[in-house]
Every structure is written in structure tokens, then in C-alpha cells.
């Protein structure tokens, strides 16, 4: 029965568990399977539960599990799943030109209260097509680390995490524990651009670009990733292909941006139309690429 207007503060009953080790958390998730749901920042999960869209029987709070929240440099960059958006904003590691898209995206996530609470892992696992952190992580070549009871940690490329709006490829019992970014090549820069209705908003379109320049100044490698223009965050392969080997001049960036727009598969919804989203992919891809190139050229 549909009860109009009944977003409620009364949630379906659930059991709350706050394990203090990863083993215990994985054990709980493994034992309860589909009935369980990991609880990280909860900023999205609580809303979903309040709207009746999610009714987990067991919430496994991860915040007492040690070692899940750090941001560390070791060759590449490793971000614990429970690192908050605020942690990312504050981290000098995410501010480096090669990673800047990530810090820029984290800064875009809502207001300070949500950034303090919301986590990187949660942002990915909600699998919102509009998740701000997804495009930069895809563009930066991130891999996600997935643990489960009695199995070695496995990794998969971030772009393969998503199965559709609100759905990941993770199975019940799986837990995303961290994100690994490869070491950034020299002369790499990145940037994130987004379109919104007001400053604090869900992305109508998000575009991250990461560009590595060769010694001769041409584009050695490029990755462009798009948010909110397909059922999942996607890599715009056409945009990357249009750039590699070229000098990153305005015409080349514009061509790559057009290719990015062609890669987008937006739909018309309450927040924006498909036409607008596709147009914005082109504009924002061009801007993100230009800033990524500038960052790549900037001295370390």
C-alpha cells in the first residue's frame, strides 16, 4: 500500500552489531548474508531505510574496526574504505596534481557535516550513478579491495564495481575495505568538474579527467570518467582514445570532449534532461581536461 507523505522516523527493526576486528565484521556479514548491511557513515543508508527502500535485519557498524580509515602513500595511494570525505579534503596526498580530481570531488560532497560522516567506501557502495567520488577514482585508475570471510582479499578495477543504479557486483558477505590508486606517472594531472542546480547538490553531471603527458608534451595517457550520465559511473573510452598521442591543444581537447559526450548515455529525469546532461558532459570534459593538462604541466 502506498502511503503518500510517509517518510518516517520510525524504521523497521534491525539488529545492530559493532565488531572490533575485520574478522568479526566479515564473519557477521558472511553469516547474515543478504540480511546484513555494512554501516559506514550512514548518511545515505539512513535515508534509504527511512524511505523504506532498504530494510536490513542486521547493521554491521564498521567504525570500530581498526585500520579501515587511513589514507596512505606507498607507491600508489591507498584509501581506507572508511576514510571520510573530510579526510580526503584534508589529505595533502589527495591534493597533489595527479590526484587533485579526488580532493576536488570530495570537496563537492554536500556540506561539512556530511563530509565529516560520509565515507569513500560508502559513496562507492551506494552505487549512485551520480556519486561524486566515482568519476575521479575511475579516471585515476583505482582498484577496489574486497574482503570476505575465509577468502583472500581480491581487487577489481573500480569501473567494474557497479552493476546498475544502487547495485554493485559485490555479493552478500563481501566488504569493500579499501581503494588502491596506482603510483602516478610523472607529468600527470587531474581535475573534476560537475554541474549542479545549487552549490550543495547531487551532481547532475560529473566529469573527471586524468592526463599524463609525455616528455615531448603530447598526451601519453588519458582517462576521462563520467558520473550521472549512465546507469553507472563510466569511463569514456572514446575521449581517451581521441587524445592519446596528440598535443593537448584546445582543438584536441574539444574533440575528446565531444567523444566523451558521445560515450554518455544520459536519461531525462527530475533533476535534468538527457540533452542537457549530454551537452554538459562536453563542456565539463573540455574544462576538466584543460585543467588536468595544466596540472600535469605544473611543477611538483
Amino acid at each position: 500500500m502506498s502511503l503518500a507523505g510517509l517518510t518516517t522516523r520510525v524504521l523497521a527493526r534491525f539488529e545492530y552489531a559493532a565488531p572490533t576486528s575485520l574478522e568479526a565484521a566479515l564473519d557477521l556479514l558472511g553469516r547474515h548474508g543478504e540480511a546484513a548491511r555494512p554501516l559506514a557513515g550512514g548518511t545515505d543508508l539512513l535515508l534509504q531505510m527511512r524511505r523504506g527502500r532498504m530494510r536490513p535485519a542486521v547493521l554491521v557498524d564498521l567504525k570500530r574496526v581498526p585500520g579501515l580509515a587511513g589514507i596512505e602513500n606507498g607507491g600508489g595511494l591507498r584509501i581506507g574504505a572508511l576514510a571520510s570525505h573530510a579526510d580526503l579534503v584534508a589529505s595533502p596526498l589527495a591534493a597533489a596534481p595527479a590526484r587533485r580530481a579526488l580532493a576536488e570531488a570530495a570537496r563537492c560532497v554536500s556540506g561539512p557535516q556530511i563530509r565529516n560522516r560520509g565515507t569513500v567506501g560508502g559513496n562507492l557502495c551506494n552505487a549512485s550513478p551520480a556519486a561524486d567520488l566515482a568519476p575521479p577514482l575511475l579516471a585515476l585508475g583505482a582498484a577496489v579491495e574486497v574482503a570476505r570471510r575465509g577468502a583472500p582479499v581480491r581487487t577489481l578495477p573500480a569501473e567494474r564495481l557497479f552493476a546498475g543504479p544502487g547495485r554493485t557486483v559485490l555479493s552478500p558477505g563481501d566488504l569493500l575495505v579499501g581503494i588502491a590508486l596506482p603510483a602516478a606517472a610523472a607529468r600527470t594531472g587531474s581535475a573534476y568538474e560537475r554541474a549542479t542546480r545549487v552549490a550543495i547538490d547531487i551532481a547532475l553531471v560529473g566529469v573527471a579527467a586524468c592526463v599524463t603527458l609525455a616528455a615531448d608534451g603530447t598526451v601519453a595517457e588519458a582517462r576521462v570518467a563520467l558520473g550521472a550520465v549512465a546507469p553507472t559511473p563510466i569511463l569514456a573510452a572514446g575521449a581517451a582514445a581521441a587524445l592519446v598521442g596528440r598535443a593537448p591543444e584546445p582543438a584536441a581537447l574539444a574533440a575528446a570532449a565531444r567523444a566523451a559526450a558521445a560515450d554518455a548515455r544520459p536519461i531525462t529525469a527530475v533533476r535534468a534532461s538527457a540533452d542537457y546532461r549530454r551537452h554538459m558532459v562536453e563542456v565539463l570534459a573540455r574544462r576538466a581536461l584543460a585543467r588536468a593538462v595544466a596540472a600535469a604541466r605544473s611543477p611538483r
Binding site: 502506498s2 502511503l3 503518500a4 507523505g5 517518510t7 542546480r197 545549487v198 550543495i200 527530475v270 535534468a272
Partner: protein, 771 residues
């Protein structure tokens, strides 16, 4: 006028510290012994017959103490303007969110279980959503007694419009559209009701306790007025939204059924789907102009979205139809405006009361006219601006009018001469284009025809009591409400000034209908003017009583006495003195008086021909001009408002801090209306019932600069010369922004919100260049 210097200063509102520190209690913070939680069952259908309601299972849910449906509530049609509502749905539901039943229970959880256990069988009916489709002959009827779904309208002919159009140098036409905008006060609509010993008590942030008591409670419940007592709690924002709601009645029905106090508190989702937002409208304008830029004739055609019930929409439509005709000299006008029922959320009043929509349309139109005529928009406005002493085409008399001064000041402070037309002259860097625009506006300072249409009395006024306590403190009682804007501070200043006591000894009480004098409440920018005048009279009466006592005690004629800083003394003999506290005590010790000053103010704007809608609405009018500078990114369509200059003829500033704050808030709400706010509806379903998708401006969206200019015309009828400000603060902002955008990008957008998508569409950027 001999003033102490308090008028026009920056005075912080009473309770401001306590509010900021979280010490003040709003209704949701208050405890009531035995309080039950109420919840409302709402229609999931936009239009349906209610075949069956069975609440028997709900009554057996543990913890449920009362269930109300059509079966145990009165079938009495009621409404402030048109009696087209029932307490709960009987034969039909008319919008998604319509109240069908309600439950009161020991906990919210039990209440929700109770709601889920109510069985309702609906038979969906064809519904109407689109205004133009709704007035077609064959359209389904929302209410059977309103043919073509039109329950009323505004039809006014003044002069021979067609003849004037025929002789006009140019005739300009335009169609403008405005959306449903929500008041979005941070405190939700809420109340607590309790029924005991034959008295119904309600606590809540009521915008007009006396109107709610009479028309929304006593009438449908069949109770006499004195059986109902409303206690007004601190209001956490209203903007029009806390007056006409069925919420209070449903809560009362639950309390009467349960025999226990019941609290009803809307969720944000309920607020956004079912609480009477600003009325959406399609406004068509056709104006005729002389070569020199004189307005010769005006034709107005409006279709306005009433939603499923009328609420205050008829008077709102009057305001929307006619108010701009008195901002500029309008020799003749033809108005045809229809209110249209649709199967959507009933619309209602929001700050501006139809004038926000009308001003967006007409002030946008004026800039288009200026383009056609090749006249600067400032010059065009100045050439036609209403002036003091004018009697407008509808018989409105301009007692004081600083419109021209406001336009001139706004233009000057925004840098009009240097900035206007920059983008068209090739200015702009990369994709960024800047533009400036402005818009004028006027508003009433009370609305007598509105008051008369509700009460049936030839009355619009306010009353006040000023009680001087034995310790010299002063309590001011009125029937009007502070919605958070600080009007009680304004009234306190007026009382303190008149009495000669320090402001910190004066307190303006919240309304208790048992104690406070009758008042119509806070709407129509009326309280400073109406209650301000009443308080002034009441305070003067209290002062007279104090002086009478002091005259006896000090053995001096009252005319030789003066009151200053709470001390009464004989002029020229400062040692012959008596404090106000002593005078209050001696008043009854001497058997002279218990000092309670009484004051009334009656608005007497002159005769009104109700049928012809001709006659002065209020004793005086406020005027304003807002100018905006914007920056538009022509690749993304994103607009940033860089600066707003708000020049206001508010008569006289009473509290500078409050006046500036009203303007800051109005401007930002106006920017919300201009750029982003809209309840998006598909087939009657509101698609964005959450702050995730109904966006209001945050700190990052507010303009960096809001410059305030006060044009003090010192109105002859206003208290210390003051007029209203609440609504002129929002009315012109959207049009100023729209005009600035048009200046920046060279293309006119005739509907708000002006989204990036609309801008790109107008620029022909979307779809590979197709417009």
C-alpha cells in the same frame, strides 16, 4: 515630532540570544503530559472515489487511541474563502496527499501501524493537471459545482483598452509562467490539540490565531469561538505557510476523539506534497505604448493553478491580477483571470501573495517593451512611475510614494550607466557574461477587501493592550504574530518610545486568544503599520494613566510632566520624580487606575465597490526597486548573482537591523524563485518532495553583496511614518534577476525558475545548436 532617538536604530530582537543558544522552546520542544502522536493517511491517487473505508483493524492495533475517518467526523464544508473543503475525505479524494484518515497513538510506530491497518478502497477517476486542459468543456471536474473547473476569477474592465491599443505606437505581448514554490520554513507545520471540559486548546506556531480559530476550527467543528483557545508558540518561520492548513483541524479531531492531547508534526515530505505552496500561474500580458514610452493600455489574462481546494487563492489571484497596475500609471486596463481547479496539491499564500508572480511577469515585460521602444528601462519606469497623490486606475490612493527615488537609487548603486548592455557591446571574458537588470514593485500594508471578504465586516484593523506591571515592566498584547522577522521588536520599540521606558523593560507577548485582543494576524505586510499604530495608541493611553497618577502624587498638572527612561518628572524640576514602577503601584493604591492602555487602529482607506473591485485597498502602500548584477556562464547556463541593490520606500525605518534582515531574506528567497525553486509535478505527483531535490539557496548561493537603500518617505498614516516591508523585500527580486540575465545573454526567458537548461535552450546551445 519629539522622539527619544530609539526609532531607526539597530535593535536586536527580544529572545534573539535565547533562540541562538537553543533555549527558546518551539512547539516540537514542548512536553505535554499524556501526549499522543498523530499521523495522517493521505490519498495516493490524484482523483478517486472513496468506495470504502474500514478502520476497525486500525482501532485494534496496540497503542492506537483514536482513529478518525469520514465515519466519525463532521461532513461540514469549510474554508476561509470558499467552503470547498471537508475535514476528511468523504466521496472523493482530489490530490495525492489529500487527508483521508488520521490516527493518534502512544507512539509514532503504533500510529503508523494504525495507518497501515486502515483499509481504503479507491476507484480512480480521470484527473486534470494542466491548466489549459482543465478549462476545456469535456475536462473531468474536480468539484462538481465548478463548471470548467473555474470556481472564480477576476474580471475587471477600466476604460476602453482596445481603442487605446489601436492608437498605440507599439503593442507588446508576452506569456510568462511561474511555478509552485514552497515556503520551506525550517520548522515544520505542527500543533498540539487537547479537548477537555468542553474547551479545545491548541498550541502551535499559528500565523493568524484568530482566523484559524474562527474559520478553520470553530466553523467545521460547530463550536463557539470561546470554546477554542489557541496558544501561539514561537514561530520557526512561516512565509505564508502557517495560516490556512487543514492540519490544525485534523489534530483537533484526533484530540476530541482520543480525549488526550495529540501532536501532529509534518514530515518534510508532507510539507512539500500537501501544504499549500505559492500558486503556479500562466500570465499573458499585452500592453500598448506611445512613441515617448507612456503606457496607454494594458491587458492581462491569467490562468492560475488553484490545486484541489481554494484556500486563499481567490484573493491571491486578485493581487496577481491587479497590483502591478498601480506601480505605474495605467490609464486603462482589462483583466481576465481565472482560478482553475486541478488534481494537485492546493496552492496557497506565500510571501508576496500573488504579487511575486505578477511582478516577475510585468517587470520582465517592461524590459521587453523598453527594447521595442528603444528606451532605457530605467527611463521607461521613471516616465510611468506612480507618484505621491496619484489615484490609480483601481482607485488606490498613493498617500506616500518613493518609487521614483527607489528606482533612481537602485540604478545608481548597481552602476547602471556603465554596466547595462555591456555584454551586447562585446564585453565578457571567455564564456562569462555579465548583465544588470532592475524591477520595481509595490505592496499593500494590509488588505481591507481581503479582510472584509473573510469576516464579512467592513473592518480591517488591529488592537493592542499595553499593561504596565508594578515593577515598571511593560507587556504589549496584540492579536498579531511575530513569524520570526522581528515585528514584536518593532512593536516594542514603538511602545517604549511612546511610554518613555527603556526598551528592555518592554515585552511583546505571544498570542493567547483568551487574553489577546482580536487581530487578523500576520499577512499582507500589515503588522508594522496596523499593529504599530494600535500599539502607539495603547501606549499613549497607558502613558496618560501613568501621568494621571504622577500628577496626583507629584502635585503637578499632567501637562507639566515628562517620562524618560522609566522616570516621570516635573518639567524643569528633575528632583520631583516618580518611577514608572511607583506610578503603576500608586495607581491602584490611590484607587485611580490599574495601568492598562488600550489602543485600536482602524484602516480607513475609503469606500470600496466590492463588485467592481474599485477602491482603495489600504491606507498606504510600500514601494521598492531591486537591481541585480549577474554573471552567466553561456556554456553551462549557470547564473551567479553577484550583487543586489534593494531600494525600499518603507516609509520610515523603525528597527534598522530588522529592516535590513527582512530585505536580505526576501532577496535570497527571490533568487531561489528566480533560479531554482519549483515543485516539479508529473500527473499530480510532486516529484521532488525532499531538500535533496527541492533546493533552496544555501550560504554558497546567496549573493556576495546585498546593498540596502532606505527611501524614507515618512508616511502620514504610518506609526512614526512607517509602512510595511515584508513582501516588497521579495516581490521584485526575480524580475530584476531575469532582466539582468537578459541583459547578459541577449535572450529573454519568460518562465521561472531560470534554470541552466532553459538558458542553454534559449541560446540554442542544446541539441547541437537547435533552439
Amino acid at each position: 515630532m519629539n522622539e527619544s532617538g530609539l526609532i531607526g536604530q539597530r535593535v536586536l530582537p527580544q529572545d534573539a540570544r535565547e533562540k541562538a543558544g537553543g533555549e527558546i522552546r518551539y512547539l516540537p520542544d514542548m512536553a505535554f503530559p499524556g501526549l499522543l502522536v498523530g499521523k495522517v493517511l493521505r490519498s495516493p491517487h490524484p482523483h478517486a472515489l472513496v468506495r470504502r473505508i474500514d478502520a476497525s483493524k486500525a482501532r485494534r492495533v496496540p497503542g492506537v487511541r483514536a482513529v478518525v475517518t469520514r465515519e466519525n467526523t463532521p461532513k461540514v464544508h469549510f474554508g476561509i474563502v470558499l467552503k470547498d473543503e471537508l475535514p476528511l475525505a468523504h466521496e472523493k479524494v482530489r490530490y495525492v496527499g489529500d487527508e483521508v484518515a488520521a490516527v493518534a497513538a502512544e507512539s509514532e510506530e503504533a500510529a503508523l501501524e494504525g495507518l497501515a491497518a486502515i483499509e481504503v478502497e479507491y476507484e480512480p477517476l480521470p484527473a486534470v493537471f494542466d491548466l489549459e486542459a482543465a478549462i476545456a468543456e469535456e475536462a473531468p471536474l474536480v468539484h462538481d459545482n465548478a463548471p470548467r473547473n473555474v470556481p472564480g476569477g477576476v474580471h475587471v474592465e477600466r476604460g476602453d483598452v482596445e481603442t487605446e491599443m489601436a492608437r498605440a505606437y507599439r503593442v507588446v505581448e508576452g506569456r510568462y509562467e511561474t511555478p509552485m514554490m514552497h515556503q520551506a520554513a525550517l520548522e515544520p507545520i505542527c500543533c498540539v490539540a487537547d479537548w477537555r471540559e468542553g474547551t479545545l486548546s491548541l498550541w502551535g506556531p499559528f500565523q493568524s490565531p484568530f482566523l484559524i480559530r474562527q474559520y478553520l476550527l470553530a466553523a467545521p467543528l460547530g463550536l463557539s469561538l470561546s470554546q477554542i483557545r489557541l496558544y501561539q508558540t514561537m514561530v520557526g518561520g512561516a512565509f505564508g505557510g502557517k495560516l490556512d492548513q487543514r492540519h490544525y483541524l485534523v489534530c483537533a479531531l484526533l484530540a476530541m476523539e482520543a480525549g488526550r492531547p495529540v501532536r501532529l508534526l509534518n514530515t518534510l515530505e508532507e510539507e512539500l506534497i500537501a501544504t499549500r505552496p505559492r500558486m503556479a500561474a500562466i500570465i499573458r500580458l499585452r500592453t500598448g505604448w506611445s512613441r515617448e514610452g507612456r503606457l496607454l493600455a494594458k491587458q492581462v489574462r491569467i490562468l492560475a493553478d488553484n490545486g484541489a481546494y481554494t484556500s486563499l487563492s481567490l484573493p491571491i489571484l486578485s493581487s496577481m491580477s491587479m497590483r502591478t497596475d498601480s506601480v505605474y500609471r495605467t490609464p486603462c486596463v482589462s483583466v481576465n483571470a481565472d482560478l482553475v481547479y486541478t488534481n494537485t496539491c492546493p496552492s496557497g499564500q506565500m510571501r508576496g501573495f500573488g504579487n511575486v508572480q505578477a511582478t516577475f511577469a510585468f517587470e520582465s515585460h517592461l524590459d521587453e517593451v523598453a527594447d521595442v521602444l528603444g528606451i532605457d528601462p530605467v527611463d521607461l519606469r521613471l516616465a510611468n512611475a506612480t507618484r505621491p497623490g496619484d489615484v490609480s486606475v483601481h482607485g488606490w490612493k498613493m498617500l506616500s510614494c518613493g518609487l521614483s527615488e527607489a528606482i533612481t537609487a537602485a540604478a545608481e548603486r548597481i552602476g547602471w550607466t556603465e554596466k547595462r548592455g555591456r555584454a551586447r557591446r562585446g564585453g565578457g571574458e571567455g564564456p562569462l557574461r555579465r548583465g544588470v537588470g532592475l524591477a520595481g514593485n509595490m505592496h499593500v500594508t494590509s488588505n481591507k477587501p481581503f479582510a472584509t471578504s473573510i469576516t464579512g465586516y467592513d473592518f480591517d484593523g488591529s488592537a493592542a493592550l499595553v499593561r504596565v506591571h508594578e515593577d515598571g515592566r511593560v507587556t504589549v498584547l496584540t492579536g498579531e504574530v511575530d513569524l520570526g522577522e522581528g515585528v514584536t521588536t518593532t512593536l516594542g520599540i514603538i511602545a517604549a518610545e511612546e511610554l518613555g521606558v527603556p526598551l528592555d523593560r518592554v515585552r511583546v507577548a505571544n498570542v493567547d486568544t483568551e487574553v489577546a485582543p482580536y487581530g487578523l494576524g500576520t499577512y499582507a505586510s500589515r503588522v508594522t503599520f496596523m499593529a504599530g499604530n494600535a500599539v502607539r495608541v495603547a501606549a499613549a493611553d497607558a502613558r496618560r494613566q501613568l501621568l494621571e497618577v504622577a500628577a496626583r502624587v507629584l502635585d503637578a498638572p499632567a501637562s507639566e510632566l515628562d517620562v524618560k527612561d522609566g522616570v516621570i518628572s516635573v518639567k524643569g524640576f528633575p528632583h520631583r520624580r516618580l518611577t514608572v514602577a511607583e506610578a503603576a503601584q500608586r495607581g491602584f493604591a490611590l484607587g485611580l487606575t490599574n495601568v492598562v492602555g488600550r489602543g485600536e487602529f482602524h484602516s480607513e482607506p475609503g469606500p470600496m465597490d466590492v463588485k467592481a473591485k474599485y477602491g482603495n485597498q489600504t491606507m498606504t502602500y510600500s514601494f521598492a526597486c531591486h537591481a541585480a548584477e549577474v554573471e552567466v556562464d553561456v556554456e553551462t547556463g549557470r547564473v551567479r548573482v553577484l550583487k543586489v541593490v534593494a531600494a525600499h520606500d518603507l516609509g520610515r525605518v523603525i528597527n534598522r537591523l530588522g529592516a535590513e534582515g527582512q530585505i536580505d531574506g526576501g532577496v535570497t528567497q527571490g533568487i531561489g524563485f528566480a533560479l531554482v525553486e519549483e515543485l516539479i509535478r508529473t500527473d499530480g505527483v510532486i516529484r521532488n518532495p525532499s531538500f535533496l531535490d527541492y533546493k533552496i539557496p544555501s550560504s554558497l548561493d546567496a549573493p556576495p553583496v546585498v546593498e540596502k537603500v532606505f527611501v524614507e518617505t515618512i508616511d502620514p498614516a504610518g506609526p512614526h511614518g512607517a509602512k510595511g516591508l515584508a513582501e516588497t523585500a521579495i516581490n521584485p527580486t526575480a524580475a530584476a534577476v531575469a532582466n539582468a540575465i537578459a541583459d547578459a545573454i541577449g535572450v529573454r526567458i519568460r518562465s521561472v525558475p531560470i534554470t541552466p537548461e532553459k538558458i542553454l535552450g534559449a541560446l540554442g546551445t542544446l541539441n547541437g545548436g537547435r533552439a
